[in-house]
C-alpha cells in the first residue's frame, strides 16, 4: 500500500497536485464554513482547521463563501503531496436563529394567565437552546401583545408570517384566541401547536395540535372521570347536582355533556344555570343555589368565576357538599383561605410526584417557579397553565428534531405519526382532529394546595378526593 502511494506520488505533476488539492480544499472549506455557521454561537475571527460536519449549498467565487448569512474568506494552502490546510478568515457571527412567532395577552382581561404562559415559554426556549436549538440553530421568540383583544389576533398572525417571516408559529393563549389564529395558520399551511384550547371538535385544520390532552370527547369524558372519581376515590356519589356555566364556548361545550353523563350515574340534574362571561356579581346565582340545595355544584367557569361564586356562596350561607369547576385561577381560589379548600378542577400537571419523577418536569418546575417568584406572581407554582405552555414547545421541539426539518408540513406529518414525551406523559396525535386520549385529571385544593387526586396513576401519593366537604352548610 505504501509502495503504491509512493508510485502515485511520482506520477502526479506539481501543477496537477495543486489543482486537485484546491478543488478538494474548496469542498473541505465549504464543510468547515457550514459547520461553523451551524455550531458556533459567538463571533470569532482568525484561522481554524475543522472537520466537515454538515453539507450545505454554497457559492464559491474565488475564495469568498457565503453560508447561513455569514461571509468568510477561505484560503487553501497545499503542501505536497497530501496535506491541505484550510484557513478561514473574517468574522463569523452567531448562527441565524430560528424565530418562533406568536402572541400573548400581556395586557387586558387575559393578562393574568398571559404572564404565566410567558414565563413558562421562557423556560421552554432556554431548554431548547441548552440542548442544541433547532437543527443546530438557536431559537428565539417573537411575541406580540394581543392586548386580550381577539380582533388583533388574525392581524398579528398575518404580520408574523408575511412581514416578520418567522420560521414557525405557535398558538396564543385561550380558546377564542387560538380559534381566531387557526384560519391564518391554515391559510399559510403552518404547523400550529397550541396549549389551552377547549373545543377539540372545531380544531379541524390538519396541522393543528393541542398540547392540552383534553381528548376529542371531553364533554363526555371529563364528567365521566369526575363521577368515577367521586364513586371510587371518595366512595360516594351525589344524588343531585346543578350545572352552572358561563358563555365561554369551551365551558359551554363541557357543560353540555354533563346531564347525559349524570343520568348514567343516577344523579338528578336540578337545573342548568347559564351566566355571562365576565360576571362579577354571583350573589343571584348563589341565592338560586341556596334555594335548590344541590348536593353538588358542577361549574363550567374559568379564571375568577370559581372564587367569586365560592365567596358568594359563603355570603348567602350555603356551601354545597361538592363543588367542581374547570379552569380556575388557582391563586384566586387559594386567596380565599380555608374557604377555597375542596374545590375540584381539571389538571394536567401539578408540581408533585408522580409528575416530578420525570427529569425534564423537574427542570421545568425548578426554573418556572424561580422565574415566577422573581416576577412577583402571587401564585408561583407550576401547574396546568404553565405546564401546557411548556409542553407546547416540547411538542414543537420533538417535531423539528424528529422530522429533522423546519418545514411545517414535515413537522406536522411527523407529529401525526409519532408519540411525544412531555412533562405530563406521552402524547399522541393520531385521533380525530389530531387528538389522542384524554389526559386531563381530577385535581382538588386540599389544605391550601392544589393536587391531583384521581386517577391513582397520577394522584399525589396517599391522596384521595375529599367528598363531602367538611365546609358544607345551609342544607
Amino acid at each position: 500500500m505504501q509502495e503504491k502511494n509512493q508510485e502515485n506520488t511520482v506520477k502526479i505533476t506539481r501543477r496537477r497536485a495543486i489543482s486537485s488539492a484546491v478543488a478538494a480544499g474548496a469542498v473541505v472549506g465549504v464543510g468547515i464554513v457550514a459547520g461553523l455557521g451551524g455550531y458556533f454561537a459567538g463571533a470569532s475571527t482568525g484561522g481554524r482547521v475543522e472537520t466537515i460536519t454538515q453539507k450545505e449549498t454554497v457559492t464559491v467565487g474565488g475564495q469568498t463563501v457565503t453560508v447561513g448569512g455569514q461571509t468568510v474568506t477561505v484560503t487553501n494552502t497545499v503542501t505536497q503531496p497530501t496535506t491541505i490546510t484550510t484557513t478561514v478568515t473574517g468574522t463569523v457571527g452567531p448562527a441565524k436563529p430560528v424565530v418562533i412567532g406568536y402572541t400573548l395577552p400581556k395586557t387586558g382581561g387575559f393578562a393574568a394567565n398571559g404572564v404565566i404562559h410567558d414565563i413558562a415559554d421562557q423556560v421552554a426556549i432556554k431548554r431548547i437552546n441548552d440542548t442544541g436549538g433547532f437543527l443546530g440553530r438557536p431559537v428565539e421568540r417573537l411575541v406580540y401583545d394581543d392586548k386580550s383583544d381577539i380582533s388583533q389576533i388574525p392581524v398579528l398572525y398575518e404580520r408574523l408570517i408575511t412581514q416578520d417571516k418567522v420560521d414557525l408559529i405557535v398558538g396564543p393563549y385561550a380558546t377564542p384566541f387560538i380559534a381566531a389564529a387557526m384560519p391564518v395558520a391554515e391559510k399559510y399551511r403552518k404547523v400550529y401547536i397550541f396549549d389551552s384550547y377547549t373545543l377539540p371538535k372545531r380544531a379541524t385544520y390538519e396541522f393543528a395540535f393541542s398540547s392540552w390532552a383534553t381528548g376529542y370527547n371531553t364533554d363526555i369524558e371529563w364528567p365521566t372521570l369526575l363521577f368515577e372519581a367521586l364513586q371510587n376515590s371518595a366512595g360516594k356519589l351525589p344524588k343531585t347536582l346543578v350545572v352552572v356555566h358561563n358563555t365561554h364556548p369551551g365551558a359551554t361545550f363541557v357543560a353540555s355533556g354533563v346531564p347525559t353523563v349524570a343520568e348514567k350515574f343516577g344523579i338528578e340534574v336540578l337545573d342548568v344555570i347559564k351566566y355571562e362571561l365576565g360576571t362579577t356579581d354571583f350573589l343571584p346565582i348563589a341565592t338560586r343555589l341556596k334555594e335548590l340545595k344541590p348536593e353538588f355544584v358542577l361549574q363550567g367557569g374559568l379564571v375568577l368565576d370559581e372564587s367569586n361564586l365560592r365567596k358568594a356562596l359563603d355570603k348567602v350561607g350555603f356551601i354545597p357538599y361538592g363543588h367542581s369547576s374547570l379552569w380556575p385561577a388557582v391563586g384566586a381560589v387559594l386567596g380565599l383561605g380555608p374557604l377555597g379548600d375542596g374545590l375540584i378542577s381539571q389538571s394536567v400537571f401539578e408540581a408533585h410526584i408522580p409528575f416530578t419523577q420525570d427529569a425534564e418536569a423537574r427542570y421545568f418546575v425548578e426554573n418556572y417557579q424561580k422565574l415566577a417568584k422573581e416576577a412577583g406572581l402571587a401564585y408561583w407554582k407550576a401547574d396546568t397553565q404553565s405546564g401546557t405552555s411548556y409542553a407546547m414547545f416540547q411538542i414543537l421541539r420533538e417535531g423539528v428534531r424528529g422530522s429533522n426539518s423546519l418545514n411545517d408540513e414535515d413537522i406536522g406529518n411527523w407529529l401525526k405519526r409519532n408519540k411525544v414525551d412531555t412533562i405530563f406523559g406521552e402524547l399522541t396525535f393520531d385521533g380525530p382532529n389530531n387528538y389522542g386520549p384524554m389526559k386531563t385529571w381530577i385535581a382538588q385544593i386540599q389544605k391550601g394546595e392544589q393536587i391531583v387526586v384521581w386517577p391513582p396513576d397520577y394522584a399525589k401519593p396517599g391522596s384521595k378526593l375529599q367528598y363531602p366537604s367538611p365546609l358544607a352548610k345551609g342544607y
Binding site: T107, I116, Y275, D281, I285, T287, R288, L377, Y379
Partner: protein
Amino acid sequence: MPSTTAIIQSLLTGTLVGGFYGLFALGLTLSWGVLDIINMSYFPFAVLSAYIAYATMTILGFDPFISLIFSIPSFFIIGLLMQIFFNRFKIDIFRSLIITFALFIVVENTLSYIWTADVRRAPVGFLGGSLFIDSMYIPIGELIAFFIGIIIVLGNNIILKRTKLGLALRAVAENREASAMWGVNYSRIALIVGGLSMCYVALAGMFIAIFYPFTPSQGSVFIGRIFAVTIFGGLGSVTGAFIAGIILGVAESLAAILFAPSWSPLVAFLLLLIILVVKPTGLTWR
C-alpha cells in the same frame, strides 16, 4: 319559579350591590356633568386604590379602610393635577375622552409593571361575610358601601343646597359662562371637583379589593355599567347616580333570579335604553 324569599332577597342584595355601582359612578358623574371631562382614567385609578388597600392588608396587616388615609389625599392631589392640566390646555369634552383614555392605558400598564398581571385577592375577613336574619342574609361589605354612599349623597346635598360652594357648583354645572359673569371662579371650582371626584374613585377602588379578586385590568369590567349608571342618573347628579346604581343593581339581580343570570346585562341595558328614549336627561330635572 323562585320563592318569594328568594325574590325579596334579590331585591335586598340588588339594592346593596347597586349602591356600590352608584358609589363608583360618583366621580364620573361629577367630572362629566360639572366639568365636561369624561375621565376614562378613573377606572384604572380605582384599581390602583384597590392595590393600595391590598398592600395595606397584606403588607401592613391593617384594615382596608386604613388605606384611605394614604389613597384619599394622594388621589385628591392627582385629581387636582389632572384638572390643572385640563384647565391650562382648555381641554374640551371630546379631547378629554381621548387624553384620559391614553392615561387609562398608562396607569393600567404601570399597575402591571408594579404588581404584574397576576390575580390578587385580599384577605378581607369579616367584610367578606354576611349578617343572617332567619333565612335572609345581608352582605357586610356591600352594606358598608351602601351606607357610605348614602352619607356621601346626603353630605353632597347639604353642601349643594346650604353653602356658597354648593351654589357655585350648581351654577357651573348649569351654565359655566353665566356663572363666571356672576363672579364664580371656574378654575377654583374645577380644581375642587376634580380632586373630589378622584376621592370618590379612591373609595370605590377600596371596595373593589374587598369584593373581588382583581388584576390591573379589573377596571375595564366596570366601564359599561358605570357609564350606564352615570348617564341614567343624569350627568352631574350625585343623588341621581346613586339611585340609578340601585335601580341597575336591582334590575340585574331580579333578572338573574327570575329568568337567568345570562339575562342580567341584557335587562339592565335594555332598561337604560328605554329610559334614555323616554327621558334623555336621565333621573335629573334638566
